[in-house]
């Protein structure tokens, strides 16, 4: 295969190219604003000298994107921000929630909704945000499918995406029980029994989810632990890997965009 000419290095934004203004130069007036700027740069420099993180940051953020990149390409980050919103609101809801099946769970949710300052709002964000995240994840999946962005070399990212979808569904399922009202209770009974209809391993899966043969005291704490400890860690780790692969492989051009006529890149000319 003939050698292709080397692509130019990705350009830095203008703000980063200009040399920083030197302090106390010229007329000698620095002022507090100048000092504060200098202090900030020193702190960033101190960290960067010891970690070299700025290179990774540039690599992640200042990527070349293909022509025709449009609003559909934001669905992935939208899903991630929905996840972050769920994580933050979930952490604060956990400060009030008690996974106690003999009335405490329902009472703590009632307390959050009716008495805690902004409790109804934060709980509403978590409740509606879960639906938003599921909708966004499916839209993101649809974009990837219809734009053909799952093809080589991005198949592994598709597979990770499917795992993320399944984990998000597990989050929705386990979170649904936590308010412990009638709807939560019966929806979980039905959901666990749907799991049980899988031949051979299904019944054992039901036992695992319930923590026994019947819906019992451990079922709620089991769902709570899965919902707030097990799955969020997995989700965060896999989202990180998903993003790494996006940055490494780049995004695809939309299927309707035509390849640019670059005679020097054509194999038969070189």
């Amino acid at each position: 295969m003939p050698k292709l000419p080397k692509l130019p290095a990705p350009p830095l934004p203008a703000a980063l190219q200009a040399p920083p203004p030197r302090p106390r130069e010229g007329n000698g007036k620095g002022g507090p604003l100048e000092d504060a700027k200098e202090a900030g740069i020193s702190v960033v420099d101190w960290v960067d000298e010891r970690t070299s993180l700025s290179g990774a940051g540039r690599w992640l953020l200042f990527r070349k994107v293909p022509k025709g990149t449009n609003w559909f390409y934001t669905l992935g980050s939208a899903t991630m921000f929905a996840f972050l919103s769920q994580a933050v609101t979930g952490v604060f809801l956990a400060m009030y929630y008690r996974p106690d099946p003999s009335g405490g769970a329902y009472e703590s949710i009632r307390h959050v909704t009716n008495e805690v300052f902004l409790g109804q709002f934060v709980r509403g964000m978590h409740k509606w945000g879960s639906s938003v995240m599921v909708i966004l994840i499916f839209l993101h999946m649809g974009r990837t499918f219809f734009f053909g962005a799952y093809k080589y070399p991005r198949e592994l990212n598709w597979v990770i995406g499917v795992v993320l979808l399944i984990l998000t569904m597990v989050m929705s399922f386990t979170g649904y029980l936590l308010p412990f009202d009638q709807r939560a209770y019966w929806a979980t009974i039905v959901g666990v029994n749907i799991n049980g209809t899988g031949p051979l391993i299904g019944p054992y899966l039901s036992d695992f989810l319930r923590g026994g043969g019947e819906f019992g005291a451990t079922t709620l704490s089991r769902f709570y632990a899965i919902h707030m400890l097990l799955i969020p860690g997995l989700l965060a780790a896999l989202i990180g890997f998903h993003l790494y692969l996006v940055a490494k492989l780049g995004t695809t051009a939309p299927p309707w965009s035509k390849a640019e006529e670059r005679p020097e890149l054509r194999e038969d000319v070189v």
Binding site: P101, S102, G103, F180, Y185, W186, I189, V190, V192, N193, I194, G196, T197, P199, L200, G202, P203, Y204, S206, D207, F208, R210, G211, G212, G213, E214, F215, G216, A217, T218
Partner: protein
């Protein structure tokens, strides 16, 4: 070339001219160190991973002892109609641990199945055999009707319509003095043959009883 190749193929470190090799030694010290470090790491990881896994999976293999619950006096029940009773199935979780059964006296005109001959009372579980919603006895229709997905059962708990895969489960019954007591649950297939308790959605006809095996976690008589 072939000579060098032969030297590398020898399993003895001494033949491979490794410095400090012992007579008859076959594993290099580098390989031994690597293997030891990997084994130690695997033991350390297993030491916390396996107990945690067993802890999470333990309830699957734990058998639950059965108990009898008093649901009423003999005079509370009759031969012709069901009386709903509520009792505690799982202790310690308040209302969420309660379940409902429909109880009536054994009626030789209806309960012609030979396996029911010994029971003085028939207790039908309210748990729908489709996905576990609570069914209700509708007197006017003489049917058990499920509110979730439209499962319908007749007087004996046999399916007459909707998605359920087997008849309604039943409870063992006994009489202690003047009180009627309910014991563990059991499942029946479409001919009312008795099986150890299964979860809803698991058929018991044909190969069903093997695809959905009886599990240690279920309360049995």
């Amino acid at each position: 070339m072939s000579d060098k190749h032969a030297k590398h193929k020898s399993k003895y470190t001494a033949d491979r001219l490794i410095p400090g090799a012992f007579e008859g030694e076959t594993v290099t010290r580098r390989r031994f160190m690597t293997g030891t470090a990997h084994t130690a790491g695997a033991i350390a990881a297993g030491a916390f991973a396996l107990p945690a896994l067993g802890f999470a999976l333990g309830p699957i293999f734990k058998s639950t002892p059965h108990h009898w619950e008093t649901v009423g006096k003999e005079s509370d029940f009759n031969e012709d109609n069901y009386v709903p009773v509520t009792f505690t199935l799982t202790a310690g979780i308040g209302e969420a641990g309660k379940t409902t059964a429909y109880v009536r006296k054994f009626n030789p005109k209806i309960d012609t199945d030979p396996s029911d001959k010994d029971s003085k009372y028939i207790a039908i579980s309210s748990r729908c055999a489709h996905l576990g919603c609570p069914v209700r006895w509708v007197d006017a229709a003489e049917r058990f009707i499920c509110p979730c997905h439209g499962g319908v059962y007749d007087l004996l708990g046999k399916r007459v319509g909707g998605p359920p895969v087997r008849p309604l489960d039943r409870f063992y019954t006994r009489v202690e003095g003047e009180f009627v007591q309910l014991g563990p649950r059991f499942s029946v297939n479409s001919e009312l043959k008795r099986f150890s308790p299964r979860d809803p959605g698991e058929p018991l006809d044909g190969v069903g009883q093997y695809l959905y095996p009886s599990r240690p976690s279920a309360q049995k008589l």
